[in-house]
Symmetry: C2
């Protein structure tokens, strides 16, 4: 009986939350899976199925990663015909916002009622040209390579390559986002009940040059932080990072691995996580929680509904 009251109460307070959901690049393309159009669409369809029930109860803002996609486009662009030059990561980032936004909008639109308005808003994000990330590239993008192929790419294109456990991948700077330029249009559309897809791939990276003009930057912005900034600017009630792991784990990769359920910022900040996967997510989560006093969550795409109810995933709280 008490459980029943609790359920009603919890449903009431959970209803009509404003939730920012960041879909990890690996939630859109499983690790090791060939990056075909068909595979991407199949994964976006799975994501849409997970998002659809949530969108009926809450105000939804959807962000997404673009690591595998922007890397592939960079590769394609660099091997194009001789009268073209390869595009920089701002232009390629804009292309991935178009491509992935389209797939999400179409697949989600095919599940939800026709009356539900959608909009994918191209999002430019400012970064600091003095961000230390420019001197230390850490963000892996694009396909995996053998040691030999990686060495050739470094020689031919000047790419920084790093060993990701077994294989090699290109790494690029991943600075922290300072400002999202399209906040007003995003807010106006949310007020009308639109599901907004924005800040894809962390947003299109831009910096101000010495003349005060906004120009593109050849980096990929930390998408977990970009989602956290978006959630903060929108006064979101919750910020969820959906990935291919069902929670944050202590002692990951060992036999003592243990999923973290509910944890305070102070507790989780004492722990160490791997640079390329959970570390940036945990950092973005605690940043959001510190700034807003709201909850952030990290968990599996397939558990989205339960994560919003704080029944699954790792829930990071102020205290």
């Amino acid at each position: 009986m008490y459980k029943y009251y609790w359920l009603i109460f919890s449903r009431l307070i959970q209803l009509l939350m404003r939730i920012v959901i960041a879909l990890g690049g690996n939630a859109l393309l499983r690790r090791g899976e060939p990056m075909t159009a068909g595979n991407q669409r199949a994964n976006v369809r799975l994501a849409a199925r997970a998002l659809a029930p949530l969108s009926k109860e809450h105000e939804l803002i959807i962000s997404h990663g673009n690591g595998p996609q922007v890397g592939l486009l960079a590769l394609q662009s660099s091997i194009a015909s001789e009268d073209t030059e390869s595009s920089s990561l701002d232009v390629l980032g804009a292309q991935t916002e178009g491509m992935i936004g389209y797939l999400i909008e179409q697949e989600l639109g095919n599940i939800l009622p026709f009356e539900q308005p959608f909009a994918t808003i191209l999002t430019m994000v400012e970064v600091d040209k003095n961000d230390p990330a420019f001197r230390n590239p850490t963000k892996p993008i694009g396909p995996f390579y053998s040691a030999k192929a990686a060495a050739k790419l470094t020689k031919d294109k000047g790419w920084v390559m790093r060993n990701d456990g077994k294989q090699w991948r290109r790494v690029v700077p991943s600075p922290i986002p300072l400002r999202i330029f399209e906040m007003r249009p995003i807010r106006w559309l949310l007020e009308k009940g639109t599901i907004v897809i924005c800040a894809g791939g962390g947003g299109i990276p831009t910096i101000y040059d010495q003349d005060g003009k906004l120009i593109g930057a050849d980096v990929v912005i930390d998408k977990d932080y970009a989602g956290a900034l978006l959630a903060r600017e929108l006064d979101a009630d919750m910020y969820i990072m959906a990935t291919d792991a069902d929670a944050v784990y202590t002692n990951w990769g060992t036999k003592d691995a243990c999923a973290i359920g509910r944890i305070s910022c102070a507790e989780i900040e004492k722990m160490n996580f791997s640079e390329g996967s959970m570390k940036p997510k945990v950092a973005a989560a605690t940043w959001f929680v510190h700034k807003t006093g709201k909850h952030a969550a990290i968990g599996s795409l397939s558990d989205l509904q339960e994560i919003a109810l704080e029944k699954k995933g790792t829930i990071i709280t102020p205290c």
Copy 2:
């Protein structure tokens, strides 16, 4: 003196018009110019300078072509590494909406006051799967080729190639747009004073399959018609197609070539124009004028302000 009164009067009625401007693919990349990132940005900068003064006086909706860009991306995508398949034109169209929308937004944003809101809205457009265009590809996309290279592409990739005067180009179906899905978000943003960039490349081509699901179509929608549909749906006061010619000409390419100033639909419909350039523009213009009773215009990007005042370009009127 009378001229002075006329000027004031004409300014008053011209103020605060809602204008849809379609930027031709050739206004963004001059014919024969190598498709480098630098060239594209330089051309977008010129377009932004032409658009900026107009945006201070009128409500502006900006659409654009993507012929050269989508063709190049198709080429890049088809020569990529072996574990990827080449993307279809809906996905590539979405990529060009991101890329070109970003360049326009950034360059225009660098000229206009920071307070001016912008939004690039990803735009899906429905086409009819029985549109006769599917059986007769006419839309040229991508780079120019020699006869030998063109024959190889037909053999290797099954592309339809057509001779564009001197050189060869790939041609794809260019169906008529039936419906723009994101009309409500576009309207909501215009009501807030946002400059909206949308329906780029004619919009992302989509069709309903036999199960009633919206899927992508491997075509490039007629962007002049898509702009006309957008203008009609938005109750625009004027629809301007900006290109690299300063007007529509009779006897184009001969010594009797003569620019058309003001002309009625009935008059211009009696004339013949070339398939690949003015014919679709004139058809889209008369369609808009017939449906709305408003004026459409075709002229040079650099004359935009004078075209809005109906002092330059070809102005197509109901009667």
